[in-house]
């Protein structure tokens, strides 16, 4: 009987750890494969590569279309993040601890872009802007991006406001500090990691946005993910592997940095 129990427990462990190991490899392998293949000396995406070189990274120095798109994406993501923080943080403060039905309704509204198909929203925005006669421009792109990125700022900020010790704010007020002074000297420093984490995720998700950019960009505002997608649809260009390698390394470094300064991983759950 005891041996049977031991066997069952062993079987359970083997299945669970086996599946966990499989998904670990599944999550990690694609990034590794891209990094390895980006150093190929050949002209194809053959894996393993026939030899190794930096040639595809060197080729990026002349890839002006990709550089142009990357520059646009960075600018749009920066503007989107700034506007998302400006609009999202006050709104998060307002609804974080409010139990009213109106606050709950606003919360659901602000979070809804996370689950609704962004492509439908992108098309709706295009129709809206063309109806009011506003041609697509960096401005329309930023507006569209803010709608789908502001939920990330809201989510992490609301979580950090919910953890605030409100007695701190009350004692600050009772000592005669003005609301603005209390906000600047006590509230803001305490919720700053939450805002930072949200701003970081908003930035990454704007930089990576496809479904909204698809409808709201034109040749002058080419976006990096869309440029890469169109390149991949046409031909399998190895320079895309080099771009991907750069993006993986930058993402990983930023992620580790944000983990240090804002405890990113705790704020994503």
């Amino acid at each position: 009987m005891h041996r049977q129990e031991g066997l069952e427990a062993l079987g359970f462990r083997i299945v669970m750890w086996g599946l966990a190991a499989l998904s670990f490899v599944l999550l990690l392998a694609p990034s590794l494969v891209v990094v390895v293949v980006s150093f190929t000396s050949g002209y194809s995406l053959k894996f393993p590569p026939p030899g190794y070189s930096f040639r595809w990274y060197v080729s990026l120095l002349d890839a002006w279309q990709l550089q142009f798109a990357a520059g646009n994406s960075l600018e749009i993501a920066a503007a989107t993040t700034a506007l998302s923080v400006l609009l999202g943080v006050p709104a998060a403060l307002a609804i974080a601890r409010s139990p009213t039905a109106r606050a709950r309704a606003l919360d659901s509204l602000f979070m809804s872009p996370l689950v609704l198909p962004a492509l439908s929203f992108g098309l709706a925005s295009l129709m809206f802007f063309s109806l009011i006669g506003l041609p697509v421009s960096p401005l329309t792109l930023v507006i569209g991006h803010v709608v789908v990125c502001v939920p990330y700022v809201m989510r992490t900020t609301i979580a950090s406001v919910a953890q605030l010790e409100f007695s701190l704010l009350e004692s600050s007020a009772s000592l005669g500090a003005s609301r603005w002074y209390t906000f600047r000297r006590i509230t803001l420093p305490l919720i700053r990691p939450g805002i930072l984490a949200g701003a970081f995720i908003a930035f990454m998700s704007s930089f990576d946005n496809v479904p909204v950019s698809l409808f709201l960009r034109d040749a002058r505002t080419d976006m990096l993910p869309i440029r890469m997608w169109q390149d991949l649809e046409g031909k399998l260009d190895v320079s895309i592997a080099a771009v991907s390698g750069v993006m993986i390394v930058v993402t990983l470094s930023l992620m580790i940095l944000m983990e240090r300064v804002a405890g990113l991983s705790r704020r994503l759950r």
Binding site: A94, A103, L119, M228, I256
Partner: protein, 277 residues
Amino acid sequence: MSYELKLAAPLAAFFGLFFILPLLILLYVSLQADTAMTSMAVSQFTRFLFDPFSLSVLAHTLFLGVEVTALCLILGFPLAWAYVRGPAWAQPILIVVVLLPLLTSVVVRTFAWIVILGRQGIVNSALLSLGLTDTPLRLLYTEGGVVVALAQVQMPLMVLPLITALSRIDRNLDDASAALGAGAWRGFWRVTVPLSLPGILAGCMLTYAAAITAFITQSLVGGGQMLFMPMYIYQQATALQNWPFAAAISIVFLAAVLAVVSVFNVLGRLSKAHAEA
């Protein structure tokens, strides 16, 4: 002490103007009889609902979401379980491996699968060198390829809520279940799974919504042979310039996603009440 609701007014106004109003215009355009947009009718919706091709695209897309979500759950649950039960030193490594794909560009992640599944990719070179096949298999542009790629791309959305749910479970319950003579599997199905149900449902909802709307992965790994709703909308709107029909498909798609999300929300609330009871 709390903040006034009026601090939310700027964002509420922004959403009213740039989120709700565009969606209302989408609805208005979908109710146009033709591309001239001069008379209103429900003809775009009847065209969709009586067209076997459109219906099959919708059904195919919704079913793709089920396949991806199931695979994510089967692989993601043990990973979250390993995170919670494994040694403390492994946790930072695991969290980086889970978060990196979430923050890496979706085009990059999809590109990785093109490299892996291609004719000269890692799977085919392994199969060829093991002598399991003489000619490279076609893995790209197959439904199986799309499901596996999407599962990897969306897995973090499943794993993160599961980690939260599993960390909340009192470890003593495991010991209690074992002490009462329940085997490992019985304890797992009767204690761990029911108590983590809120996390399972939250993870399934996020993965499902993300999988069926994943334009880039669907189009690059699926290729031209397989048509899913997002690409269908994009083609009708841009290549064919048929705005009323594109709007109608978008509305149908929005409604389908909303229905699925509401079902998960209701189930989530029930399961939370159950887990806390």
